[in-house]
Structure formats: structure tokens, C-alpha cells
Amino acid sequence: MSDPSYLLPRRSFLRGAGVAMSLPLLEVMAPAIDGTDRLSASPGRVRLCVLYKGCGVNPSSWDVTGGTETSFQLPKLLQPLAPHQKDVTILSGIDSDHRANGTHVSATLAFMTGKVKKSNYRQSQSFDQLIADEVGKETPVHSLALRGDPYIDRNDSSENYLSYDRVGDPVPVAANPEVVFNQLFRGFNNPQHRSKTKTVIDEVKESYEAVRRRASRSDRQVLLQYLEAVRDVEKEIAKFSEVDRQGRGENSSRFLPPTAARNMGERVQAMLDLIAIAFWTDTTRVASLMMAHTESRGIYDFIGVNDEFHYLSHFVRNRRVIPNFDRVNQWHASQLSYFLTKLKSLQDGEGTLFDNTVVLFGSGIKHADYHSVADLPLVLAGGGGGQIKLGRYVRYHHAPNGNLLLKLMQVMGLKKTQFGNSTEPLPGITERGTFYRDVVDDGSWKILSLSDKEIVVIGKLQVRVTAEDPNLYVILLSDGSHVEIRAGFGNINGNRMDLFAGSVMTVTGELKVKERPLVITKVKNYQVLKNVD
């Protein structure tokens, strides 16, 4: 691993934990004009970062079992977050658009738009871009869209994008940390470069006008992208000049460019460093990072995993891959942990950058092999300017992900009331939530009938993925025993059983094994009785 602090000369950073806030940030950052402290927690100064990892998770390693909203054990995959347990909120029971079930592409599309549309077509604007259109007005750079995955997916281009702009076109993703660094901290921070580019812009706008006048109707449609691109640069230049006028730009020249990443791990970390510094210098307030897309053939050899990520994610159909799949997912969680540590190390106003940032970490798919989009794996972190209640585990009951995105837009200061598949702003983010408890055993979970070939049983369904048994489901009974479901992949998938883990249900199934525990080999039908208490 490279030295994580290479972006800043060491002295600029904190000098030991005890004096964590010693960096005279305000000297550089605050507006020179009136000296007022605009760095205190005003909603306008909150940043948003989305960290996406494709391919879902192994539910048994992800899910929090038992506990209450404020007292719970971190599950296996989130162990790397232990130093931050008080500073993250784990969300469960949030569903993406159900039409995305079973697919790679729609799951990605719906993650930040809350809505499935055909891939490779114009989409709805994603929530981060709506936010950036507002809060990005004050920063030199509108927003960042980055990827850590080393290569793009060629089968369906939509897998490569999280962010969609106002007209629904995908926001290009930057893959090279050095290039991003230059755009953020060199380039337009240099007044000469700005004025040179300004001249170029004036010229190309004129020549665009001349070309446009002679272009056909349909050509003009395509050409608009040229004008938009030019205008964006123009705005950026204006905003960088403003930063300069306020004397904030000097800071940037002190940063050192990242060294070339030797593998995906280093690239992801370099990107996280860049986001942190970009937030800290208020160069931008919105960023998203695709750590791995949903058909990633990336190899995590730097943690000793030599199989393709997407292959590992199909842990039911591919044998003996769970330990490595879990390791990769833990690594992704460790990157979140790394990022949070970094945010906490940077002073921002009265507190740290962590206090003024919202971080959403997760995947558009839950069960990595069944590609279910219910109960998405999501973690929220960062204080959001003191608005977000942290240190919790919040359970919802099939809340649409649009509700979460809508709520986060409100946290970011937007006055929206509807987004994608939303029904309401998600409660339980800025205040304590309704904590749906596990269904309580009322003593009625038992075998209702048992013949030679068939069993009817009522009880709570649980997924129990283990390395040896990647497709095991059990039905818990009141007497403490359980019935196993060892049905084929097709049977479980056809019934979409994975969507109902945690529910009490009546299951009718074929029976093979007669000793205890009884084993259902084929689910004939089932009926969900109760999801939550």
C-alpha cells in the first residue's frame, strides 16, 4: 500500500491525535472579506459522498442479528468499521425498484435514481446531481464522478455509471487519480491557466455559434453537448477565480499529486484521498465513487484473492468462493473505514470534515447470487452538519430507496418532496426511527402436518449461508428446533424466497430426510404471515 498521506505534505496534516484540530484551516479557507465563520454547520456547507460497490453481498455475513437501534454487534463484513461504530448508521429493510430484481444493470441504474428505465437510454437525473446543481453553485467544481474499477464493462455501458445529469445522460467517470488531481488542484487554480483557457473559450463559443447556424436540426441536438461542455468549463473558471479572490486557492498548491496506482486497491484509496481533500478545500461538495461495478472482473490480488469479483459474487452457483467473496467485501468496508478516518482527521469549521459530510456506502443488490434488490446493504456515515443521528442500526420495512435519497437531498438543503420511487422522506435519519423488531416467537411456530412426502410448517425463515452450504435456509420453530430447506437454486429463486428472510411464513414442501432436523427438498408454496413486529 502506498503512504496514505501522500496528498499533503505531512506538516499540513494533524500533528498527532491530541492536537487534532491544530491546523489553521480558517486562515486558508475562510473568506478573506469579512472573516465571518461560514464554516459552522450551515446546511449549505454539507458534503455528500456515495461509495458504491457492485455485486451485492453474502447476506449472512452482512446482516446484523438481534440488538436494538443503539445496541448491536457489527456483522462480519462490517468489522472494519469497529473504530467508527458510534459514527455510522446501518440501514436495513430499504428496497430498490422491484423491477430491477434479478438484473445487474437495472440495480445499478436504480441505485441513485430510484427508478428503473431501460439501460442505454436517457435516465432520470440522479439524486447526487440534483444536489450538485444546488450546492455546487458555490464551489469551483460541480461534482465528481469517479471509478476505481480498472476497466469499463463493455456488455452494457449503463453498468459503468451511477450519476445522470439533468437531461438524463450519464456523467462521465474519471478513472485516473492524477488527472482528477490536476483538475482539482492545479489547472484552474493557476490564474494564467484560467485566463488562457478563458481566451480559448471565448473563441470556441464564437466558432460554435457560426457552426451551429449552419447545422441541421438534428446536428444541433448533438452539438448542444459541445456548448454545454464549454459552458461548464466557463462556470468552473469563474468559480475558481472567486476562490482565488477569497484567497482560498493557495492551499491547493501545497498538495502533492498522487503517485501512479499499481493496483485497484491503490487506485480506490487515491480516489478516496482526492475526495477528502476536494471536500476539505471546498473545491466540490458532491462526489461518487464506483469502487467496483456489478460485472466486475477485477481481481483483488493485493489482498490475496485471485478470482474475478463477479465470479466470486455468484457464491451459490460457484462452489467454495464464500471466504474470498467475504474478504473482498470486507476490504470494501475497510475502505469506508479508511475514508471516515481521513474525514475525521481534517478540521472543518468548529468540528471535522466528518461532521459536515454525508457518506452513503452500499450496493444496488443484496443477495449477490439471486440479485435481489430488497433489503439493500447500506451504511450511512458522517454528521451531515450535525443533522444525522449516528451510532445506530435502523430497520425499515420495505422502504423504497427513493425515500432515503429524498431524505438525503433534504439533509443537503434541497426542498424536494418527491424523488424516483419515493413515498415520503425516510424517517429515522435525522431522528430516532421506528425500529422494526424481529418477529417475536408467539409460540405458534411448529410443524402443522407431516406425512411421508410432505410437510407443512409455520416458522421464521432465516438464510444461513456458510462456506460449505451456500444455499441453506431454515425455518425456526418455537421449540427451539428448526426445519432445513435444502432446495435447488431454481426452486428458491423461482419462489424468490431470499426476499422474505426474517418473515414468519407457512411453507409446504417435499420432504426427503426423516431424521431431525427435517429437510425440505422442494418448496411447493409458502405464504408470508408476518414480516415484523
Binding site: K117, S207, Y208, A210, R214, S218, Q225, A229, E308
Partner: protein
């Protein structure tokens, strides 16, 4: 070579239209009747057999003129759904024409009913108002690959990196431009030059400016390049206005290809005058060049427009530009420009001569690198670190494919030799069984590949020994499909994946688009079933048997009877393309199987022969479709059918030579015409 096909295509269009008009007075009712009586029993909205629901087609038939929605979003959705319906119709027409549907055992369609389907499709989707057409022509932006090539050509400098594979980046070392300017993402055509995809991907303007700045820096340091553009290495400070005008005019003619309007050029000149007052002549000139290279005239390929909904020919210069970006991914050279500007390129024999000349130029490598690399997917070998196995291995494997595809062009061979051939490019390490004979390396490669050197750090260690052409006798390795590169990209790192290989052949070579099932049972279940039933002393179960059992269910067999034999037939090639006869655990490998037509094979080479028997027409059609999509920068649509069929007829009469494929595509109305809505 048939050269009489350029002029009369309009009359062909007209004749076809008249012919169709006379006997296609069929009504929507007849189609509805056929669908209802033969298809909907299985393919309705509840049964959806094979995931296909044809009931949506009835609505389209009965209500062909849906009113345009007022809201932009709603109309986009309507557009989207009409695209889906068109795709569905194309599928119906295809399976009905091929006799694949209705399936055996169901009521078959008689010839009249088949014709009803075909005619309905033709009238509705192939023709417009009874006439053939070429679809709306979309403005095309240069891709990154084309941008780099174009800057090299226009400025006379070298901007690409020599081919160096590096252990640090686990792939090919990228050029400065490739580092700065983001990679284009392929569109629905499967290629990154897809105009539609480029139109919805935002132009990375800052990176574009950086790219041009970099190219001009390279230019400024290069005396030879300056001499070409300026006519002299140093611009004197007393450069006359006439001289400056001349330099700028010449430069703009090359940079903007079709030239700009007088207004465009005047603007550049006035900019020059202003700057010349403030800066040195050289600085002023470079600034003007920069403006020219940042103009939409450079970055987009404009064509003059008549706002006509009927196809009309593009100008000779525009045709030259289309041609050179198709064959070279670069702008036309002087010869092509001159022939276009004096109108000679409109003569069919001049055009075919030019095609032949261009295919003799080293610049044709873009067809292998850019077209074949994307089509067959072997370009990933360069960029995806997953495939990196050390410097010489990766480069050798990539080059085998690159050189082999280029050999088709160089020797004007049959496109079917992609499947099987008695020659192949092999790197030194790879001579598997059989006899083979090295063929003299052609000089043309020295030009194209001379800078491929083995490097360590910055030091050139030794010259790279590229794969050489071998005459094969009795080996299993003819054609591109069994090359190491293809065997690798269709495998997991440590084991083969017969389904991935089968799907690859179906999609890339045969042209069947395979929709992956939403979720399928794992192989492990079949393995368990096999192991449960076998007695203890029986030998280990082979992966082949497991796959056979796995796909024996009816719902799987529909697709897997096509997929599996293709993949299993290549099991003798391990994930690195090395010949093997046993799996680990001493299980014997048999590359054998039966194609859906009942013909069996017992080795990869027999499989390839059977493939060419059974799928020949489809392989040829797919190859043409792919190349046409690349040439036109868009997905092939139903209305391209007429031209496509004509190309197919022409190439089947000429042994499927790739030169004829290219020529026929260039001669087609699709390539020569534009249409504005």
C-alpha cells in the same frame, strides 16, 4: 470485382418498392390472425413462453399511428417501447423465416402465413412509405482512438505510445492522450464509435483542451512536422499576410476535412491578425491552430444537409471522410482528398481502386485494432489487468489475434477463416501438435509493428520477436476462435468455462444475441445428483457430464442445445489456450458433441468444420452486420436489410473475401447516403 453497383442503387430501390406495392395489400387483420392462431397460445402475457410475450405486438398492429406524447419524458418512453416492439417483430420475422417457430410438434405455418409475417414486417419496418431508406444520419463525434489518430495526421507528429506492456500497470502502457482523455464507452452497436452513444456521452471538454495542448507542444518541438505545416521550420517574424493566410487555409483544410465556411476561416484570420500584433508570429500561428483544433468542425464530422427525409448522396469529400474513418480511423490522406475534390472519387472504379490502396496501407491496422478488437473483444487483453500474465505472454497473445485478423485484410482472405484456416500467426512458444511451417514475414509488418520492443523501465532490452505466420497441417488451432487470446478471455483464470465460450461463439461469430437467464440453478446441484447415484468405485465425474445433466431440463435446453456443444467442443484448450487431454484428477477430456442439426463432432477441428457447414450463412451475415455497424457508427436496423442482403449475395459469389465485404459495404446506399429524419 463488381463495380457496377454504385450508380443504380436508386433504381433498385424504386423497382423493389414498386414490386412490393403490388402484392402487399395485406391488412393488419391477417397478421393479427396469424399471431393469434399460431403464437399467442404460448407467447401471451400470462404464459410468456421463453420469456417472450407477443401480445404487445397486437396493440402495435391495431394502432399503428400512436399520437406523439406531449411530454418529453413520455415521448421518450413511447419511443423506447416502439423500439422494443420493433426488436420483437424482428425476432418473430427471423424465427418464422428460419422455420424455428412454431416449434416441432406444434401447428406449422404454411407458406402463405409465413409470407404474411414477412411482408408485414417488411412494409412496416424495412420500408418507409413503400420505399427503402437509410434512417436518420446522426452527427458523429471523433472517438478517443480517432482523435489521437487525427491529431497525428493533421499535425504530422507521433502521439501514440509504442506498444509496451508493463508489469507495473499490468497491461499496455497508455499514451499521454489515453491517460488524459477518457475512454469511450460502446453503444448499442457494440462499438465505441456509435453516434448515438457519443451523442449522449458528455464531451470531456477540459480533457479535450489538454489533449490539443499536448499535441501542439509535440508539434512545436518537431522540425519535420513544422516544415510540413508551415512549409518551413522557422516562421520568420515578417511572415507576409499572404503566406500566413495560405498556411492557415491549408491547415484548416486538413483539420476540418470538409473545410469550413468562409466565415469560419475569416474568424481565424482576424484572430491571427490580432495575436500577431501582440505575440511572435509563431505564437500567433500556434494559437490559431489550437482554435481550429478545438472547433466543432474538427471534433465532429459534419456533412452538408438537405433536410430531406429521402436518402441522398453525400458529397465526394464527405464520402472520402466516411471511407477513411471506416478503414483507417483517420482523416483522408492527400491522394484521397484530391480525388474527392476533383470529383473523381464518384467514379466506381476510382473508388474501388482507392479501397484497395487503403487496404494496402499500414493504416489499415485500425480495422484489426479498433474494429476486430472491439468486435471479438480481444482489445481487453491490452487493458484489463486480469489478463496480464507477464510482458511477452500478453503481448504475444494479443499480437497473434491482431496479426491474424490483419492477415485476412492483407491477403484478402475469406471472412470464414476467422472460424477455421490452414494458417495462423503463432508466437514462438505455441506450436501444438501437427506439422506447421513458418511463412516469410511480410515486410508490411515491419512498418506497422517495428516499434514493439521488450523494455525494462526505460531501457530497450531487446527487439520483440513478434508472432509469425505458419502454414498449419493437421493441428486443431486454425482460425481465430481457438487462439490463445480468445481461449483466455472466455475462461476464468484457472479453469475453462464452456458456457462462456459457447455464448462467445454464438454472440460474436454466429450473431445470436443470448439473453442470460435471470437466474439459473448451479452446476453444483447436477454434480451432487451425479455423485449421489454413482457407486464408490466409479471414476470421478467430469465437468462435461455435469454440464450435460445441468442443461438437460427442457427450459434450459432451448438455449443450451446451441450453447453447450460449442463450448464443450473446445474443452481440449485450457484457459491459456494450451492443448490438454486430461482434467486435473486424470479425467479424460473429450471435445465432442452434437450440434442442433444432429451432426456430431469429436474434436475442436471437427467442430469448426461443422460450424462452417451448419452456420455458414449466419456467420457471414453476422460478420457483415458487425462491420456495417462499425462503418456506419450505429446499430443495424431492419431498414438496412435490403443493403445487407445485397452485400451477402455479392460476397457469397466471391468466396466471402473480406475485401469484397468492405467494398460492398462502401458501395451500399447506407454508406453513401444520408437522410435527415
Amino acid at each position: 470485382m463488381p463495380s457496377n453497383l454504385v450508380m443504380p442503387f436508386r433504381s433498385v430501390f424504386v423497382a423493389l418498392a414498386l414490386m412490393l406495392e403490388s402484392f402487399c395489400q395485406l391488412t393488419a387483420n391477417e397478421v393479427v390472425e396469424v399471431l393469434k392462431s399460431h403464437c399467442l397460445e404460448c407467447h401471451d402475457s400470462t404464459e410468456k413462453s421463453g420469456g417472450i410475450d407477443l401480445s404487445v405486438l397486437l396493440k402495435g398492429v391495431e394502432d399503428p399511428q400512436e399520437s406523439a406524447d406531449r411530454h418529453a419524458e413520455a415521448s421518450a418512453e413511447a419511443n423506447h417501447s416502439s423500439n422494443l416492439i420493433q426488436d420483437l417483430w424482428a425476432r418473430v420475422e427471423k424465427v418464422v423465416s428460419r422455420g424455428e417457430m412454431p416449434p416441432d410438434g406444434e401447428d406449422q405455418l404454411d407458406e402463405k402465413k409465413r409470407e404474411t409475417i414477412r411482408l408485414y414486417f417488411r412494409n412496416r419496418y424495412v420500408l418507409r412509405n413503400g420505399n427503402p431508406h437509410v434512417g436518420q444520419t446522426l452527427l458523429r463525434r471523433l472517438t478517443r482512438y480517432e482523435l489521437q489518430n487525427t491529431l497525428e495526421d493533421v499535425l504530422g507528429v507521433s502521439l501514440k505510445r509504442p506498444y509496451v506492456f508493463s508489469p507495473e500497470s499490468k497491461g499496455m502502457v497508455r499514451s499521454t492522450i489515453e491517460l488524459v482523455y477518457p475512454e469511450d464507452v460502446p453503444g448499442e452497436s457494440g462499438f465505441d464509435n456509435d453516434a448515438q452513444q457519443l451523442a449522449i456521452s458528455n464531451l470531456p471538454f477540459q480533457e479535450y483542451v489538454q489533449t490539443v495542448d499536448y499535441a501542439l507542444r509535440m508539434f512545436a518541438q518537431n522540425d519535420f512536422a513544422r516544415k510540413v505545416v508551415f512549409g518551413q521550420t522557422r516562421l520568420p517574424n515578417d511572415l507576409s499576410i499572404e503566406q500566413a493566410t495560405r498556411i492557415i487555409d491549408l491547415f484548416v483544410r486538413r483539420a476540418w476535412r470538409v473545410g469550413g465556411s468562409k466565415e469560419d476561416r475569416n474568424r481565424l484570420m482576424s484572430r491571427y491578425h490580432r495575436l500577431a500584433g501582440e505575440k511572435t508570429i509563431e505564437e500567433a500561428m500556434l494559437a490559431v491552430m489550437k482554435f481550429a483544433l478545438l472547433s466543432p468542425r474538427f471534433m465532429y464530422r459534419f456533412e452538408s444537409v438537405k433536410e430531406s427525409s429521402v436518402p441522398y448522396r453525400v458529397s465526394p469529400v464527405e464520402l472520402a471522410v466516411r471511407l477513411s474513418y471506416f478503414l483507417w480511423s483517420s482523416p483522408p490522406d492527400e491522394e484521397l482528398f484530391t480525388l474527392a475534390r476533383n470529383g473523381k472519387l464518384s467514379q466506381p472504379e476510382v473508388l474501388t481502386q482507392q479501397i484497395a490502396r487503403m487496404l494496402n496501407s499500414p493504416k489499415r491496422i485500425s480495422l484489426s485494432e479498433n474494429f476486430a478488437g472491439q468486435w471479438l473483444g480481444f482489445d481487453q487483453l491490452k487493458t484489463n489487468p486480469v489478463y496480464y500474465q507477464g510482458e511477452s505472454w500478453t503481448r504475444g497473445v494479443y499480437d497473434e489475434l491482431l496479426f491474424s485478423f490483419d492477415e485476412l485484410l492483407k491477403s484478402n482472405r475469406s471472412i470464414l477463416e476467422i472460424v477455421d484456416s490452414d494458417w495462423v500467426y503463432l508466437r514462438n512458444a505455441r506450436l501444438a501438435g501437427g506439422r506447421s511451417k513458418k511463412i516469410q514475414l511480410d515486410n508490411v509488418y515491419i512498418d506497422i509493428f517495428s516499434d514493439r520492443r521488450i523494455r525494462k523501465g526505460l531501457k530497450v532490452e531487446r527487439f520483440y520477436d513478434p508472432p509469425a505466420l505458419y502454414q498449419l497441417e493437421g493441428t486443431q488451432f486454425g482460425g481465430l476462435i481457438t487462439s490463445t487470446g480468445i481461449m483466455r478471455i472466455t475462461s476464468a483464470p484457472k479453469r475453462t468455462n464452456p458456457i462462456r465460450r459457447g455464448v462467445w461463439i454464438l454472440e460474436k461469430i454466429i450473431g445470436e444475441s443470448m439473453q442470460p437467464p435471470e437466474n439459473i440453478p448451479p452446476l453444483a446441484e447436477s454434480e451432487k445428483r451425479l455423485n449421489q447415484n454413482k457407486d464408490e468405485n466409479a471414476p470421478e465425474v467430469s465437468p462435461t457430464e455435469i454440464l450435460r445433466l445441468h442443461t438437460s431440463q427442457d427450459s434450459c435446453r432451448v438455449c443450451h442445445r446451441h450453447i453447450d456443444p460449442l463450448g464443450l467442443g473446445l474443452e481440449n484448450m485450457d484457459p491459456l489456450g494450451v492443448w490438454r487431454t486430461e482434467y486435473p484428477g486424470k479425467i479424460k477430456i473429450k471435445s465432442e458433441g452434437t450440434l442442433p442439426n444432429g451432426r456430431s463432432f469429436r474434436s475442436p477441428s471437427e467442430l469448426k468444420k461443422e460450424l462452417l457447414n451448419y452456420y455458414k450463412d449466419r456467420i457471414a451475415e453476422n460478420m457483415v452486420r458487425q462491420m456495417m455497424a462499425y462503418a456506419l457508427g450505429r446499430k443495424i436496423q431492419p431498414f438496412d436489410r435490403i443493403s445487407l442482403d445485397r452485400v451477402l449475395v455479392a460476397i457469397s459469389a466471391d468466396d466471402y473475401r473480406i475485401g469484397t465485404v468492405i467494398e460492398q459495404i462502401v458501395l451500399s446506399p447506407q454508406f453513401q447516403c444520408r437522410q435527415d429524419d
